[in-house]
Amino acid sequence: MRAVVSLFIVVSIAIVMVFLLIPRDRIFENDQSISKLSGKKDLLAAYKLGKLKDLGYLDYKAQKEICEINQASKDCFSAGSSEINELIKIYEKDGYTINKTEDGFYYVVKDYKTSRLILNFYSNLIKIDHTGVIKDPNNLELERKVYFAKDHNGMLSIKCSGCENQYLLYFNGSFPFIHQNFIKLNFGISYPTYIGLNTFSVISNKQGELKNKEITFETGTTAKSAINLHSCTYKMTEAIDDLDKAKFVNNYAKCTSNYTDPSMIEVSYIMGILSLVFSYLISIPLGVVMAKERGKLIDKIGIIYVNLMIAVPSLAFIFFVRNIGSLFKLPDKFSQLGFTDVRSYIMPVIILTLLSTSSLIIWVRRYMVDQTNSDYVKFAKAKGLSEKEIFNTHILKNAIIPIVNGIPSSIILSIGGAVITETIFAIPGMGKMLPDSIKAVNNNMVITLTFIFTALSVFSLVLGDVLMALIDPRIKLDNKGGSR
């Protein structure tokens, strides 16, 4: 519960900062369409207001829309008609500012208050797909049902008619093997980079080039295509064309494609996990040895290393290590060899690993020193157990608890490190996306990433506690005691 609250607070702060503190005009700086509209004052204003509305800054309605919503007569649509004047008054009372174009058409604008901004974000955050979602006036007979069916690979899946997505649940060979479309997170649209896409899709969709393969469509047509049949969503009947009709038997014809490369999330994830594993593999034995050989050479070397790592700014360190990598002909930019070449990953993973070793080593060392001075270890020694036995059966068992509890925070750390590392190596991952989208004033993307990073941290802390409760006998009982 505390976890959810802290997530809520952090993200709300991010929303407020992004929406209120960043000047609105900056988001248009990188939009090419703006220059095409220069000189056409009304069109420009309408374009910008439309975008701002899409991004959730404000509510904006042009005269045409006002008339449509209120189901007014034809008269309403003409400039200066008495009917529109009446309607405008209602909006004026409602707090909208009333504006007129050069041609005399009205449009109304109302900024959202802070509380409304936050409310809007959270009320749109979770999208649940169900059979009533699609409202297609040209397809009133659309069946509405959820059913089990085999997919094109012959795997069992849950499909839907009437939902946004055709597949609600399906299995395939890509991680995490089971996929669902019941619940989707919706952070709004991406702008001005990756225009029009859902921000979450931008980072979770695969990247790279189209991956074509022979596909047999439901109609029986076979073609070489990159279409991802699991991704198909409903396409309005009016938009269905002959090509669609050749491939699909129903309206679920809006599909995304298969790409060759992993998504941004996956890229960051792969590197994060790899470096985490390596950093534990290095730090734990090293910390243990340093504690055992306290004051001796290896301990001194280790301490110098740790101090260096702490003292040297990580940015400098990353450049330094990258240059060493270049000596061994390893790429200093990810794109040089791309996703498929192992060499692309070596340097970033080494750097991420080393960055997280220092704190871990020093922690393990201190922990081990504490443990060897602890009474239970002394008593175990007095019992006649050998150092090895004490380590394997006593200290290790104790150490696993804080180690497990600490893994989540290491994950957070490695994410923090990933932001810089991914940027320097130009790795197309989540970490690089953050500074990129800040630079591009892609506000929704910034909020999305903030949400994901925070959620990840919070989740991992909770996970750490849960894991600890599972392995620490003392906590297990406390919980039972509490519920009694």
Partner: protein, 354 residues
Amino acid sequence: MENKIILSAKNIIVKFKVRNRVLTAIRNVSLDLYEKETLAIVGESGSGKSVFTKTFTGMLETNGEVTNGEIIFEGKNLLENKKDKDWEKIRGKKIATVFQDPMTSLNPVKTIGSQISEVIIKHQGKSKEEAKELAIELMEKVGIQNAAVRFNEYPFMYSGGMRQRIVIAITLACKPEILICDEPTTALDVTIQAQIIDLIKNLQKEYGFTTIYITHDLGVVANVADKVAVMYAGQIIEQGTVEEVFYNPKHPYTWGLLSSLPQLGEKGKKLYAISGTPPSLFEEIKGDAFAPRNPYAMQIDYEEEPPMFKVSETHYAKTWLLDERAPFVEPPVEIRQLHERLSKMPSVKGETNE
């Protein structure tokens, strides 16, 4: 009591490296421990009680070293044990130690049972099942009810007294020759203390091990011990049977120690306390270490270290007052009346003290 010597420590000197300085914690101490007896070691904090007994099991911290002396046990000098491997055959198996704090002596994340079993497996080469049976038996012996169930519980589910019982069970698991109890009851409350002391006494009768009992509580000494060694600034300054040391103490430090017994406190009178502080062990000590605090100190006390004077076959004290040239000094009045006063106090004079 005509018993064999089971362990004999001779001229032990222990030094610790503390940063760049050397601290001499034990300054040339010799002690003979007799089979089946209970020896109590008393003395104020920092006098070296723990360090001295740790040398018997090679348990000194890594910055410490026995620089001189020998410890003869079963015909061998224990100090020739250089590797931990050699010590492992002594520790727990021949000489076991009970530490002060039962709350922390047990590993919090291992079951009670596994912590008892592991010594049995290690030292007696028993299988897991056999070890479990023996462990449960031991648990019952030290007074744990429902032992078969509690075998699988964790230390935090046990009270302090219970844990100390478990610690004792562990130390007895391999039927050691010598049991060193380093303030085994200090961390426990009074009623539990009495129970643990009784438990150790009863087990000693049954198992017949020799006990070294380190304590600050002279009441406990009177209750459990046959012999007493009084330590001061890294030396044994007086030793003898309980009777001799309590009722005929010779060293002024022992006088002070005895008269500061809280049990002797009388309403309205201030409790006696030895004034001053013990000397720094970093510097070399000239003469009698106790001299600066000794109201009866003589010139020689500041110049030359006193030898161990023999008072009786079993009673020795390290003070110039016993030299024939020294003037006769009467112990303070509290000490002279100690016998009388103590015998009036059944709580101090234990019921089973022969």
